[in-house]
């Protein structure tokens, strides 16, 4: 097994060990922290597909995270209030079923990514960044100005949504669900990286003109990557809203987009387990230093600076050595 494989296995084992350790140490709050880290990692895996494989520096990924969150919030709030989501031309009821909510979150955020991609991929570089940021801000202010779903105050859900055969109110079972989804998405990412699509996307990032010469459209490749990326981040948003039983415009803010990007950069851009390492590190730092100072992000900024300057492969790169793309 390669060094990176060992690092990945160690990260996976650490996540598997969390519930056992939490029970042994009588620290149930650890499970909530780990769930938060796993959901952040899921969102960051989504961004890593666009950023690491496609070279798309998106500062608007919170749009997809927020859409996933609102998909959960809207469906669940209608279900808990026994009011239909819409009555004409046909009635659609709300739902408290996680699989249905996930499906809606994935489809809605994937569709949003498709629309944003169709417009933003006409540009590149700083213009692409600005357009994704602009979409993010548009959605943020739209959510604030939408009183039907809480406006600036957000939307609370009384009881966590359900999953067949599981008690999602049990933190360990909910953690297991989130962890299972993260593993599934990591497998998908690994397969994508080795697939002809992933290779062509990687090539399009390097030399778009050469990719065209072999009959591939770099913009279409990037669009597909952005849709997959947005859908995964949307799924993470639905889980995050379920974890907190609350969704607010904060999930759509540009700070959220920045945080998702920080997870990827700290962990290692284009590294399979980079987002897992980055999100885990972020949540750990927030937990350990958050109690010491409310300005704990100063230390995060310092660390980010060190990673960008001296460890291009992020935490995984430091532990496993440089990869060919670093």
């Amino acid at each position: 097994m390669s060094r990176e494989g060992l690092v990945n296995a160690a990260l996976l084992l650490a996540l598997v060990a969390v519930p056992g350790w939490a029970l042994w140490a009588d620290a149930p709050f650890t499970i909530t922290l780990a769930t938060r880290a796993v959901i952040f990692a899921l969102a960051a895996v989504g961004l890593n597909i666009a950023l690491g494989m496609g070279g798309l520096v998106s500062l608007g990924h919170a749009v997809f995270f927020g859409i996933g969150g609102y998909a959960m919030g809207i469906l669940a709030s209608h279900a808990q209030n026994y009011t239909p989501l819409m009555e004409w031309p046909f009635e659609i009821a709300g739902t408290k079923s996680m699989p249905v909510i996930w499906l809606v979150a994935v489809l809605a955020s994937g569709l949003a990514a498709l629309l944003i991609g169709l417009l933003s991929l006409r540009t590149s570089g700083v213009y692409f960044i600005m357009i994704t940021l602009a979409f993010g801000q548009m959605m943020y202010f739209f959510a604030i100005s939408w009183p039907a779903y809480g406006g600036e105050d957000g939307l609370s859900i009384y009881v966590r949504n359900g999953f067949p055969g599981l008690n999602t109110l049990d933190p360990i079972q909910f953690y297991g669900l989130c962890f299972g989804l993260l593993c599934l998405v990591l497998v998908l990412h690994a397969r994508l990286m080795r697939s002809p699509f992933g290779l062509a996307l990687n090539a399009a990032r390097q030399v778009p003109e050469r990719v065209r010469a072999v009959g591939l459209d770099p913009v279409r490749l990037q669009l597909v990557a952005l849709v997959i990326s947005g859908a995964i981040t949307g799924l993470a948003g639905a889980l995050f809203a379920d974890l907190n039983r609350f969704v607010s415009p904060t999930m759509l803010s540009w700070q959220m987009s920045g945080e998702i990007m920080v997870f990827v950069i700290i962990g290692g851009v284009a590294r399979l387990f980079g987002p897992v390492a980055g999100a885990g590190f972020y949540v750990l730092l927030e937990h350990l230093l958050g109690g010491v100072s409310e300005y704990w992000q100063i230390f995060l900024g310092l660390f980010l600076l060190l990673v960008v300057l001296f460890g291009k492969g992020g935490l995984v790169g430091v532990l496993a050595g440089r990869a060919r793309h670093d």
Binding site: P196, N202, A203, Q206, A213, G215, L216
Partner: protein
């Protein structure tokens, strides 16, 4: 049957006109040599055929008008390009370079490795770590993996060691003999082109000034237009 027909092709780089009227035709399975001194418009003609730059004139490939197609659509019709300067995907391995371009058809990894055994030996090696000759083989292999009907080789042996050059020319001759693929070849060695190609077209100052059978290319013609 004519596969590619180029008529009165003109093209410019900004205000500077590079092509003033290029005419050429390539039939199915035919190898055409494009000759000319440096800066006479050979690579520009290739870029226009591959739709990598705007051009005026008529460009018809297999009965389809190329002039309104983006470059990737032109490539999908069956035009495979081995560009000047190789330009492999440096971060990808040899196998990944080939796989990224692959389309179903006669040419697969096994056949490319049989044509260039060195590539087979270096399947897992990064393209950036290959020698110039191996990168050139990879560029040809990558173009073959798209299973083209017309293979364009733009200075495929430029700047390579004589032994590697011979290896690549042998592969080109094999392609000509065994694949039945049409080829447009740009190369500095007239001697080698005489072996590999059926016909030739000579460009001078952005115009095609001579075309005909390779056997009909006389010493006087090459001296007048190519200075050799």
């Amino acid at each position: 049957m004519t596969l590619l027909s180029v008529t009165q092709l003109t093209a410019s780089y900004g205000a500077s006109q590079a092509l003033f009227g290029v005419d050429l035709e390539i039939a199915e399975g035919e190898a055409l040599a494009m000759l000319g001194r440096n800066g006479m418009g050979k690579s520009t003609t290739v870029r226009c055929i591959c739709r990598m730059m705007p051009a005026q004139g008529t460009l018809v490939f297999d009965g389809q008008d190329l002039s309104r197609l983006p470059s990737h659509r032109a490539a999908r019709l069956g035009i495979g390009l081995v560009p000047e300067g190789r330009r492999c995907f440096r971060d990808l391995t040899v196998a990944e370079n080939l796989l990224a371009a692959a389309r179903s058809g006669h040419w697969d990894m096994g056949r490319v490795a049989a044509l260039f055994p060195r590539l087979g030996e270096r399947r897992t090696q990064r393209a950036a770590s290959l020698s110039g000759g191996e990168q050139q083989m990879l560029a040809i292999g990558r173009a073959l993996m798209t299973n083209p009907r017309l293979l364009i080789l733009d200075e495929a042996t430029e700047g390579l060691a004589p032994t590697v050059r011979a290896e690549i020319r042998a592969a080109i001759n094999t392609l000509k003999r065994e694949s039945g693929m049409a080829m447009l070849v740009i190369d500095k060695s007239l001697k080698e082109l005489r072996i590999a190609c059926d016909r030739a077209v000579i460009l001078e100052r952005g115009r095609s000034v001579w075309s005909g059978e390779m056997a009909a290319l006389s010493h006087e013609t090459t001296e007048r237009h190519l200075g050799i």
